[in-house]
């Protein structure tokens, strides 16, 4: 073979190899990339499933986790993160916890998702969620049927309904206050700083278990604080589906709702009235619009106080500044005064950071990590307010799974004509102090509907 043929053969072989390599690279590039990536889902770690309806909820949880794992808090550190999965390492024992977002929307999807997790070889040790009482109930009911050795602990950030803990006794802990606490605090705050009412009206959304439960709680609280008041319960107002739009960004109120609002406002001009609205979402906005539309002359506005549950968040409160013609009282959902600067502008960060810190603290103490030990250790967890892992208030639970009483939440008030939202906090004796402007409006953020 002449040298020309040798050179040509070598060139041809080289080009063939290069072409083949390029072809193979193009064909398997994606697969190679996938191989080279570390899959957070396959890394050994204790699993925690996070159930929020929207991705924004997951993002807020990540904000809370970031606070809990900050160097100042020393609860741990984040070691790996992808879109829907984050792995954190506890401190000081460096145990790994994998937080995964479950994109389940609606009750049926939530139940299916939990069942799938429970049937997996390694079910999660805990479930965090959800954004909603109905969905949280679904989580509790579905996890309750699992065997104790495989049942995950349900960590509830916002659902306040009283019967929730009964649905999975010993398997649920609540990081927020329950409805009765919220109702007692509100009625006590009102009774401290406002005259007791002669008339109490409670509007109930018959489709919403949260509404029904909170209404009962309000009724009990009013019965204790103002036994002489006439209590009326209205469950018929919110039966009709909404239609149209209003200025408040919600559907326009129905005729019945408008008539109800007019009657309440007229009566309140002569009879001090507390109007309890233990409702959420569209209905509460419709009723606000109806009450605003039925505003009597300014001189006759004094007798009405509207009281909400945590169905309307502090951020929404700020949007009502200078827009409403009646005062609103509501729970703040957090301790305004105890919050530190690193919790940012989101009020959710406090509860979510507390949940993340609690999970990391419990897992750090477990060896080996199993479901029963996790439940036991979390139920008896005590993180004092001075502990850097706390978010300004102690983290502890009663035997039933409720948040310990010392972790009190503040109240927020918006007076008509006021340009800012005020808050009330208990003093050392448990007495509600005077309403004061919130130090920095950005301190109170948004909350999900319970």
């Amino acid at each position: 073979m002449s040298w020309e043929r040798r050179v040509a053969s070598v060139l041809l072989a080289g080009m063939g190899v290069a072409l083949g390599s390029a072809l193979m690279f193009m064909l398997i590039h994606d697969r190679l990339s996938a191989w080279s990536r570390v899959d957070p889902r396959s890394t050994p770690a204790a699993d925690v499933a996070v159930f929020f309806i929207e991705r924004s909820g997951w993002k807020r949880f990540l904000d809370g986790l970031a606070v809990a794992t900050s160097p100042e808090r020393s609860a741990g550190s984040i070691v790996l993160a992808s879109d829907d999965v984050v792995i954190a390492e506890t401190s000081p024992n460096r145990r790994r916890v994998r937080f995964s977002w479950e994109n389940a929307r609606g009750r049926a999807e939530t139940i299916e998702s939990v069942r799938r997790l429970l049937s997996s070889p390694t079910p999660p040790i805990a479930i965090i969620g959800s954004s909603n009482t109905l969905l949280t109930n679904a989580l509790a009911e579905t996890t309750a049927v699992a065997s104790p050795r495989r049942a995950p602990m349900l960590l509830v950030p916002w659902a306040t309904s009283m019967p929730l803990l009964e649905r999975h006794r010993g398997g649920v802990v609540r990081f927020c206050a329950n409805n009765q606490t919220v109702a007692d605090d509100l009625v006590a705050g009102l009774a401290t700083h406002r005259p007791l009412p002669q008339r109490v009206v409670i509007v109930v959304d018959p489709r919403d278990p949260y509404s029904l439960d909170l209404a009962d709680c309000f009724e009990r609280a009013v019965a204790a604080a103002a036994p002489s008041a006439r209590v009326e319960r209205r469950g018929d107002l919110l039966a009709r589906p909404s239609s149209g739009r209003s200025d408040l960004g919600a559907s326009a109120p129905s005729i019945e709702e408008q008539e109800f609002a007019r009657e309440v406002r007229i009566t309140a001009a002569t009879t001090p009235t507390w109007l309890f609205l233990p409702i959420q979402g569209e209905p509460i906005r419709r009723l606000f619009a109806a009450l605003n539309g039925a505003a009597p002359p300014r001189s006759e506005r004094r007798g009405l106080i509207v009281v909400c549950g945590d169905g309307i968040g502090p951020a929404a409160f700020e949007s009502f500044v200078n827009a409403l013609t009646f005062p609103i009282w509501a729970p703040a959902g957090l301790s305004v005064t105890d919050r530190r600067g690193d919790l940012g502008t989101s009020g959710d960060s406090q509860v979510l950071a507390e949940i993340a810190a609690a999970v990391l603290a419990v897992v750090d103490d477990l060896d080996p990590i199993d479901h029963e030990a996790f439940r036991e250790r979390l139920s008896s967890l005590k993180i004092s307010a001075s502990d850097p892992r706390s978010m300004g208030r102690p983290i502890a639970f009663t035997s039933a799974g409720e948040r310990a009483r010392e972790s009190s939440e503040d109240l927020i008030v918006l007076e008509p004509g006021s340009s800012e939202v005020s808050y009330l906090a208990r003093d050392g004796l448990g007495i509600w102090g005077e309403p004061r402007p919130i130090p920095g409006r950005a301190a109170i953020g948004d909350r999900r509907t319970p």
Partner: protein, 505 residues
């Protein structure tokens, strides 16, 4: 197993035919064709499928959105499927209404798909709820219907939401343009890879044809080589044959002269010794009787035998001439044939080989002449020269024959020496044929290589002329010289082969 063996055999056949490079090209060509085909099949409709998936995914994500209670359309459908009462139906319609209102609120934020109508159907295809309740569409035929399954729980009947929607024309145009572009690119890829496969097939057929032609050419070359070798050997035979025939003719002429003179010489000799005529007659008769008793009739049978021998010689001469003529014709033909074998062309041959071949051919003549033919030992060390083998051997044979025909005055046998001298500086090799005979007459020496110059009588003197011509045709030269004391030497000067020179330099 048979298939695997067939594949391996085919692969091996291809490797033998095209070599590893060819196999590599075959594999790459085939791979690119299969790649192009598979891409055309699987990817041509990808934009259309992607568009469908995008529409389906967007709508599926949209209908999953929950209301303020956390329930979505699927939850209400499940509720209705479990207990299809008035209240559940109202909630279902309300959920559908909420989706519609949500759509209207988000109309400006929903740039891809415009939803015109929602229809919820039960497993039997009956409409359970729709939004709007009554509405006719002017361009209904341009709407796209997407079916979204709503219930997946086991044991629950399958409800579905039918969505009549229209993808925004601009987006549709983008997908359509993408599909057209994809199809064009993929067709080009398919066409190119298919064409390269056709080219490869053509190359395989061409290579096969080429191999057959090479085989034919090889056979032809082998035949030419054989013909050339035959020509060479036959030429040698004819050469020897011709020489021997000339000698035989001389012998027969001598016998013929003897027969013709014998009786007269005998009578003359008898008279000279004094025998009378009757005695001479009796002697003749006695001699004839003695010949007769031995079965020989000199006047008749020997003369006849001599004539027959002469006739044989003539036949031999004819055959020899015919063979020589045939050999020359074949030689001339081979000389004109470009593809003739290596025997026709100059080749690198060591002088010792040429000497040995010439000595072998001349061995019988040398032995008959009681001469001695030696090859000097230094001939083995002489480098190869570039010559036409049979021409140079013929030249050496002629020179040896020429030396054998010389006769020493004292009758002692001739001693012939073949030797070679190399002059590496100028790349010359001299082949020397020397003898210890009487040498060449000085008056002959200048004209020695001219045709017809000979001391052996008429019709002779062609051999050396042929030798000179042959040597010159091969790029060499020849000269003859007398030795100082006695004998002569023929010096053929040739040149080393170029390859040999290069190696030395």
């Amino acid at each position: 197993m048979k298939i695997a063996r067939g594949i391996i055999d085919g692969f091996d056949h291809l490797r033998r035919m095209l070599g590893w490079q060819g196999v590599m090209i075959a594999l790459i060509t085939l791979a690119s064709f299969l790649f192009g085909t598979s891409m055309l099949i699987s990817e041509a409709t990808r934009p259309r499928r992607t568009r469908g998936q995008v529409v389906q995914s967007l709508l599926a994500g949209w209908i999953r959105s929950p209301d303020y209670l956390g329930l979505n359309l699927r939850d209400y459908t499940l509720e209705f499927a479990r207990s299809p009462g008035e209240e559940e139906h109202a909630r279902l319609r309300s959920a559908l209404e909420r989706l519609g209102e949500d759509l209207e609120r988000r109309e400006s934020e929903f740039p891809l798909i415009a939803v015109e109508r929602l229809e919820l159907v039960d497993p039997s295809g009956r409409t359970v709820a729709r939004r709007p309740e009554r509405r006719e569409f002017a361009q209904r035929d341009r709407l796209e219907r997407v079916s979204l399954p709503l219930v997946a729980e086991s044991g629950t009947p399958g409800f579905a939401l039918l969505v009549d929607c229209r993808v925004v024309p601009e987006i549709d145009a983008v997908f359509r343009a993408g599909e057209e572009y994809d199809v064009r690119v993929l067709r080009a890829l398919f066409g190119l890879s298919g064409f390269s496969l056709l080219c490869f097939g053509h190359m395989v057929l061409y290579v096969r044809d080429l191999r057959e032609r090479v085989a034919r050419e090889s056979a032809r070359e082998a035949v030419l080589d054989l013909a050339d070798t035959t020509c060479h050997e036959l030429g040698n035979v004819a050469f020897v044959f011709s020489n021997e025939r000339r000698n035989l003719t001389g012998h027969i002429d001598l016998i013929d002269r003897f027969i013709g003179l014998e009786r007269g010489v005998r009578r003359t000799a008898a008279r000279r010794v004094g025998l009378d005529e009757p005695t001479i007659e009796r002697l003749e008769t006695a001699i004839d009787r003695e010949y007769e008793r031995n079965g020989i009739a000199p006047d008749f049978e020997i003369a006849r035998s001599v004539r027959s021998a002469g006739e044989v010689c003539r036949q031999l001469a004819l055959c020899s001439d015919y063979i020589t003529m045939t050999v020359r014709e074949l030689d001339a033909h081979l000389a004109r044939t470009p593809d003739a074998g290596t025997a026709r062309t100059s080749s690198r041959i060591a002088p010792i080989e040429l000497f040995q071949e010439a000595a072998t051919l001349m061995a019988p003549r040398v032995a008959r002449a009681s001469a001695t033919l030696e090859i000097a030992p230094d001939a083995e060390r002489a480098p190869p020269i570039l010559v036409v083998r049979h021409l140079m051997v013929h030249a050496l044979v002629n020179l040896i024959k020429n030396a054998l025909e010389a006769s020493n005055a004292d009758g002692s046998p001739i001693r012939i020496t073949l030797s070679a001298e190399a002059n590496p500086k100028i790349g010359e090799v001299v082949l020397i044929v020397a003898d210890d005979g009487p040498g060449i007459a000085p008056e002959i020496l200048p004209r020695l290589f001219q045709e017809g110059v000979s001391t052996k009588g008429p019709r002779r003197g062609r051999g050396l002329a042929i030798v000179k011509e042959s040597v010159r045709a091969q790029g060499g030269s020849i000269l003859a010289e007398n030795a100082p004391d006695h004998g002569c030497a023929f010096r053929i000067t040739m040149y080393e082969s170029v390859e040999n020179s290069n190696q030395e330099s």
